[in-house]
C-alpha cells in the first residue's frame, strides 16, 4: 500500500519535474533558437566565474529577477481573482500531463508499473475538458485587472481558444474511430502494430490530414505565433498587461508548459507515443526477419527515451514555426478557424467513417 503510494509519488515527481524543467529550458531554447535562425548569437552574458554554459544561466537569472521584482496589483483590480488567475492558467497545463503515457508497462520484482500517472478510462476526453479550463486563467486575468485593454485582450484570447478548441477536438475524432478507444495507453499500444508487416500504424500514417488540422489548432490553442493575437508581445497589448513579477512569469511559463503538453499530445496521438518502430516487448523485430533480443528494462528505458526525444523534437518544431510565420489578422484567424479548419475536420470524420465502414 505504502509502496503503491510511493510509486505514484515518484511518477508524479518525474512527470512534473520533466514538464517544469522543459518549460524553463524552453525559455532559453526559444531565445537561442530564434537567435540562430536569424543569424544572431542570442543570450550569452549571464555567467558564473566567466562560464556562460551557452546562455543556460539566463533562465535562472530571469527567475531570480521575476521573483524579486515588485508584485503590483492595480488599485481597483479584484485582488483575489487577480492573484488567482496565473495559477488557473498554469494548472491545466500541469494536470493534462497526468494521463499521457510516457512508457510501456514496467515489470519490476513481480510488480507491474504503468508508466502513466493516472490511467483514466476517459483519457483523451479528460485532456480536452481540462484544456478548456485554460480559458479561465486568461479571461480572469484580463477581466480582474480593471483595465480596458487587458479585458479586450482576454476576450480576444477566449474567442480564439473556444474557436480552435472545436477544430482541435473534432480533428482527432477520426483517430478515435480507427483505434476504437479513448484510453491513451491503449491508443499508443495500438500504434505499435504494423500495417502490411513493415509500416508502423502511427497516427500520422492513418490520419495525415488530422495531424495537420490538430497541429494548426494546437498552435492556436497555445496562443503562439502565427496565432498570437491574444498577447502579441511586440505590438498588441494582451490580457496580462497589469501583471508584473512572478505572476507575469507564471503566465509566461504556462505558455511554455502548454507547448510541452501540445508536443506530448502530438507525440502520443500521431507519432506513436513511446513506440519505437519494430521494437517489441522483447526486442527489435525488423521486417527482413532480423531480430535482436533485449532485456525488458533496456526496452522500457529506450521507449521512455524515445518519448522524450519525440517531445523535444516537437517543442523544437513549434518554436521553429513560431519564429518563421508572421501573425494572422484577427478576421483571418476567425475565418481560418471556422470556415476552413472546422469544415475540414468534419469532412475528415465523414471520409474516415466511410473508410472504416468499407473495411469493416
Amino acid at each position: 500500500m505504502i509502496l503503491d503510494a510511493l510509486i505514484i509519488l515518484i511518477k508524479l515527481a518525474l512527470v512534473l519535474g520533466m514538464i517544469m524543467n522543459l518549460a524553463g529550458l524552453l525559455t532559453w531554447a526559444e531565445r537561442k533558437q530564434s537567435a540562430l535562425m536569424q543569424d544572431r548569437i542570442g543570450p550569452n552574458r549571464a555567467n558564473i566565474f566567466g562560464f556562460t554554459f551557452y546562455g543556460l544561466l539566463h533562465p535562472i537569472a530571469d527567475g531570480i529577477k521575476l521573483i524579486t521584482k515588485e508584485d503590483f496589483i492595480p488599485a481597483r483590480a479584484n485582488k483575489a481573482i487577480h492573484s488567482l488567475a496565473p495559477a488557473v492558467a498554469m494548472f491545466p497545463a500541469l494536470v493534462t500531463y497526468a494521463v499521457i503515457p510516457f512508457g510501456d508497462i514496467l515489470r519490476v520484482g513481480g510488480r507491474e508499473i504503468n508508466l502513466q500517472v493516472a490511467d483514466l478510462s476517459v483519457g483523451i476526453i479528460f485532456i480536452f475538458s481540462i484544456a478548456s479550463l485554460a480559458i479561465y486563467g486568461v479571461m480572469l486575468g484580463g477581466w480582474s485587472s480593471h483595465n480596458n485593454y487587458s479585458l479586450l485582450g482576454g476576450l480576444r484570447a477566449a474567442a480564439q481558444m473556444i474557436s480552435y478548441e472545436i477544430a482541435m477536438g473534432l480533428s482527432i475524432v477520426g483517430l478515435l474511430m480507427i483505434y476504437g478507444t479513448v484510453e491513451l495507453d491503449d491508443l499508443v499500444r495500438q500504434q505499435g502494430y504494423l500495417i502490411g508487416g513493415w509500416l508502423p500504424q502511427w497516427g500520422i500514417v492513418v490520419q495525415p490530414a488530422a495531424f495537420f488540422l490538430f497541429l494548426c489548432a494546437a498552435i492556436a490553442e497555445n496562443k503562439r505565433t502565427p496565432f498570437d493575437l491574444p498577447e502579441g508581445e511586440s505590438e498588441i497589448i494582451g490580457y496580462f498587461l497589469e501583471y508584473s513579477g512572478m505572476r507575469f512569469g507564471m503566465f509566461f511559463l504556462a505558455e511554455f508548459a502548454d507547448i510541452v503538453v501540445a508536443s506530448a499530445l502530438l507525440t502520443t496521438l500521431f507519432f506513436g507515443g513511446w513506440q519505437i518502430p519494430f521494437l517489441m516487448a522483447d526486442g527489435f523485430h525488423l521486417p527482413g526477419g532480423f531480430s535482436l533480443a533485449l532485456p525488458h528494462l533496456l526496452v522500457v528505458v529506450l521507449q521512455v527515451a524515445a518519448f522524450g526525444l519525440k517531445v523535444v523534437f516537437f517543442c523544437w518544431f513549434l518554436l521553429l514555426v513560431r519564429w518563421t510565420l508572421p501573425r494572422f489578422r484577427y478576421d483571418q484567424l476567425m475565418r481560418l478557424g471556422w470556415k476552413y479548419l472546422f469544415p475540414l475536420t468534419l469532412a475528415n470524420i465523414f471520409i474516415t467513417g466511410l473508410i472504416v465502414l468499407a473495411l469493416a
Partner: protein, 168 residues
C-alpha cells in the same frame, strides 16, 4: 520593354493554399538554424564592448566622428576664429570667443572654442565651411560617454589634444 506584369500578384493556387509556402519558409529558417548551430563562428555579430568595428573592419575615411581642432607647427590652433563654422552649424552648437593674437602674422585666434556635443547632429557642415582646415571630424571617436551634461561641452584643449583616429 523587359517589364513583366503578373496579373495574379504572385499568388497562384499553390501560394494561396499556404501549406507549400509554409514548408518552404520552415526550410529556410531551419537551414539557417542548423548552419549556425554547427558553426556559430560565421555569425556576423560583433560583441560590442569587447570587439569593435573599427578594429575588426576599420572605419571609412568618410566617417564623421567627434570633432578635433588641427594645430599649426608651433602648436597654436589653425583656427582663425572667422566664425564660418558657427554660422554654418544648423544646431548652433559651436561657441567661439575670438581674441587678438600675439603673432603679428596672425590676426586673431579663438580664446574659447566650445562644441556642445549633445546638440551636435554630426552633419559635418562645420568641416565643409572651414577655409583653414582647422576643424575636422576624423577622430574616429563615436562613443561619447560622460557622467553629466556639462561634461559634453568640449573645450578647445580637449578638441586640440585629439589626434587623427585611423590610418589611411
Amino acid at each position: 520593354m523587359a517589364m513583366v506584369v503578373k496579373d495574379n500578384n504572385g499568388q497562384g493556387f499553390l501560394e494561396k493554399i499556404y501549406i507549400p509556402e509554409i514548408i518552404r519558409g520552415l526550410l529556410v529558417t531551419s537551414r539557417h538554424f542548423f548552419k549556425n548551430l554547427f558553426n556559430i563562428k560565421q555569425v556576423p555579430t560583433i560583441y560590442y564592448p569587447e570587439e569593435r568595428t573599427e578594429v575588426k573592419w576599420g572605419l571609412s575615411p568618410r566617417w564623421r566622428g567627434r570633432h578635433r581642432l588641427t594645430r599649426k607647427d608651433d602648436g597654436m590652433p589653425r583656427c582663425t576664429a572667422c566664425m564660418l563654422c558657427a554660422t554654418a552649424c544648423p544646431s548652433h552648437c559651436i561657441y567661439i570667443e575670438p581674441t587678438e593674437s600675439a603673432d603679428p602674422a596672425v590676426e586673431k585666434y579663438p580664446a574659447v572654442f566650445m562644441i556642445d556635443e549633445l546638440r551636435c547632429v554630426f552633419c559635418g557642415l562645420c568641416v565643409e565651411a572651414c577655409p583653414c582646415d582647422a576643424i575636422r571630424m576624423d577622430s574616429g571617436i563615436y562613443s561619447l560617454t560622460e557622467y553629466s551634461r556639462a561634461n559634453f561641452l568640449y573645450e578647445k584643449d580637449v578638441l586640440m589634444a585629439t589626434e587623427r583616429g585611423y590610418k589611411d
